[in-house]
Symmetry: C2
Subunit: 206 residues, 2 copies
């Protein structure tokens, strides 16, 4: 990894731990192994480093959204796999989702940084809501909608069902960001949630 990118990497780590304002250009330089003035050969200001991190994230998540077909105009075509979903498969889906968000190093650091900076301006607020509310609900809604359409889950509103599936995952995830020592507890609760979710929605409607 070249210096220019190592700066972004170390800055993201520091920003996610202490917030933008509590990280000094000297801290970033030290982690990279250069002196602070050298940073300015790569980025014209501290703010430019932050902006570059946001830009990089936009690229990554746009690419991911494309891979996951979140924005595809024919999502059904690629979701056959979810048409029938056993309870164990649904638990695996939830655990995989949880584990990816919680343990992927880049995803985790970026989410924590955005959590700290979300109220700084409207753009960051909208980015947070898109990445951690609207996009997951859209993606999960597509999958659960497929299962519902094939009769595996019964609901009058896929949107509400998806919220009820995802919100507990979101809440446990943000808790683990704060208190990682409660991850084991969170995973047990997560399993209980998914099993109960599956039973609730598998019941034939009256």
């Amino acid at each position: 990894m070249d210096t220019k990118h190592r700066i972004l990497d170390e800055a993201l780590t520091l920003f996610s731990e202490k917030g933008y304002a509590n990280v000094y250009v000297n801290d970033i330089a030290q982690k990279v192994g250069i002196k602070a003035p050298s940073l300015y050969k790569h980025y014209k200001s501290k703010k430019a480093i932050f902006d570059a991190i946001i830009d990089e994230m936009n690229d990554r998540f746009a690419k991911q959204a494309k891979d996951l077909h979140i924005v595809g105009n024919d999502p059904k075509a690629d979701a056959h796999i979810y048409e029938t979903l056993s309870e164990e498969e649904m638990i695996k889906l939830g655990f995989d989702l949880f584990s990816y968000y919680l343990h992927d190093d880049y995803v985790k650091r970026f989410r924590k940084m955005l959590t700290i900076e979300q109220f700084h301006n409207k753009e960051l607020a909208d980015t947070y809501t898109k990445l951690y509310v609207d996009d997951p609900l859209s993606y999960q809604g597509m999958l659960l909608g497929q299962v519902a359409a094939s009769g595996g889950l019964n609901t009058e509103s896929v949107d509400v069902m998806t919220l009820q599936f995802f919100a507990p995952i979101y809440m446990l995830l943000t808790m683990c960001d704060r208190t990682p020592e409660r991850e084991e507890e969170a995973l047990k609760i997560l399993e209980g949630h998914i099993r109960q979710f599956n039973r609730l929605y598998s019941r034939k409607r009256g």
Copy 2:
């Protein structure tokens, strides 16, 4: 309100909007209507102002917990009212809970400040989790547990049921903190959530 308390009030507003590090003692003084050095007659440092806000919050929430009997050793004695709960009453419960957290000025500012500062140290992280995860789940669990005990809701795990009731409320609440213009949308989703929750858990178990 005396100057000493007005300082806490204005500081909390600013901290909740910009975060501790982005607020300067001069900003606080200006809002209070005095010059920055005068602050130091009331608090020995900027950090002392922050600590005083945390202390005040601890007092308030401890008092509230006592009022709500969250920590009472005989919660059942005061929860008769929840033994039977219609769908409309449950919607009112959810809306009241949501509205209190979202619109109470002190509660909202404090939550936003803690959101920004939650990763600063372990104590703040634990405070956040206690106030916005453990305490609400404990309180709501007590109420829903009463309804379940009297046969109004059917579940094998009150804890999981309570999480499924509260997590969507939490997620919508934190979304409204970021994007208040989506409050109307959030309230519609909230109503859909509670109606569906009620129907799911009211169904007789097989």
